[in-house]
């Protein structure tokens, strides 16, 4: 398989993924299994690494698979393949958007759209909350109240909320402090 093929495979994945990087996973898995790049277990390991490192999950996955296929060059080719559709499509849309976005009709449409996107952010917040702070899924599986309301987790959660209300510092500060606190107390 050539670099061009690798590029095109990831271009296709980028083109058919709509929404978050998680939406790209089934497509990635499909391509990988079809070409026997790696086993199911290896794929899940890659997903775990991609979820536990900074950066969008889809991009992390593309970089990882590209590396396994052809080292640094493979990483670059796969990742640029994945983001190429975004670049092309968003640039085309943005051009039109900034042409029309001052029009009253578009402004009205946006006035309806913005509360909806706020609702979508609320969904994302709820999802992170029910994994990181109140792990509902784990509770359903094992029924342990102690895991649903873990004292150390709750204390850290309340402390971060209090620190945010008090200082309103840069988000990076809270992420770094929470990582350090997690290593020590969780």
């Amino acid at each position: 398989m050539s670099f061009l093929t690798l590029y095109l495979i990831f271009f296709k994945i980028g083109l058919f993924t709509i929404g978050g990087g998680l939406a790209a996973l089934p497509l990635l898995q499909n391509e990988a299994m079809k070409r026997q790049w790696f086993s199911q277990a290896e794929f899940f390991h890659m997903v775990a690494v991609s979820e536990s490192t900074p950066g969008p999950i889809g991009v992390n996955m593309a970089t990882y698979i590209g590396w396994d296929y052809a080292g640094i060059a493979g990483s670059l080719v796969a990742t640029f393949g994945l983001v190429s559709p975004s670049l092309i499509i968003i640039i085309l849309i943005a051009r039109y958007f900034f042409h029309f976005n001052e029009k009253p009709l578009v402004q009205s449409a946006l006035s309806g759209l913005r509360p909806a996107v706020t609702g979508l952010i609320a969904t994302a917040a709820f999802n992170v909350l029910t994994v990181a702070v109140f792990p509902i899924q784990t509770f359903r599986e094992n029924g342990l109240w102690g895991e649903l309301f873990d004292p150390a987790t709750l204390i850290l959660f309340v402390l971060i909320v209090a620190a945010y209300v008090k200082w309103k510092a840069h988000p990076v500060f809270y992420v770094a402090a929470a990582a350090a606190a997690g290593m020590i107390f969780l």
Binding site: G58, W67, L82, A132
Partner: protein, 184 residues
């Protein structure tokens, strides 16, 4: 833009920074974008960020990249779109290549798992405050509140794709004012 070149560097490194401290991508980078782009630099308003998310969510491509590309285009045209996108993917490239080459069991290190648990708690807090802030900015009346709540319930609990929700809310944004005028 007095010096586009400096601006492109700034865009690249700004998104490099955001990409290297955002876990999960997509919506989880919103608090960082808001802080860096709206509050600190005033390159985009908070409302505009939401518009880009709406479009990034409903078009092909990964939402984190789509939104970065959009912001880059807004601030510095096509070169800006490319600079922002490259900045966004650079940390992933560096970190994942290092892990794939030297530390393949990185995610199984207990200390890493504990740090991540902490990080996710912070991400949850930051997102909750973002929701609060954006709700104050965007939810101005009862229809707006209903749109926000319905979007939350439909996507969060109804398993409905965000795309029809986004499309319908844009349609309602056009129709509701017309109906209101008719009543008067």
């Amino acid at each position: 833009m007095d010096s586009p070149k400096i601006h492109l560097n700034e865009l690249y490194f700004l998104f490099f920074k955001i990409g290297s401290v955002t876990f999960g991508g997509g919506y989880t980078m919103l608090p960082m974008l808001d802080r860096e782009l709206s509050e600190k630099r005033r390159w985009v308003t908070e409302e505009e960020l939401l518009d880009y998310y709406a479009i990034g969510q409903s078009t092909p491509g990964i939402i984190a990249i789509n939104t970065a590309t959009f912001v880059g285009y807004k601030t510095a045209g096509i070169p800006g779109a490319i600079a922002a996108t490259l900045g966004m993917v650079s940390p992933s490239l560096i970190i994942i290549i290092l892990i794939a080459a030297f530390l393949r069991n990185f995610n199984e290190v207990p200390l890493v798992q504990k740090a991540l648990k902490g990080v996710n708690i912070a991400v949850a807090v930051l997102l909750i405050f973002s929701v609060w802030k954006f709700a104050q900015k965007t939810v101005k009346d009862i229809p707006g509140f209903l749109i926000c709540l319905t979007a939350f319930l439909a996507v969060g609990f109804g398993g409905i794709s965000p795309i029809p929700v986004v499309a319908l809310s844009a349609f309602l944004g056009i129709v509701i004012p017309i109906l209101k005028r008719r009543k008067k």
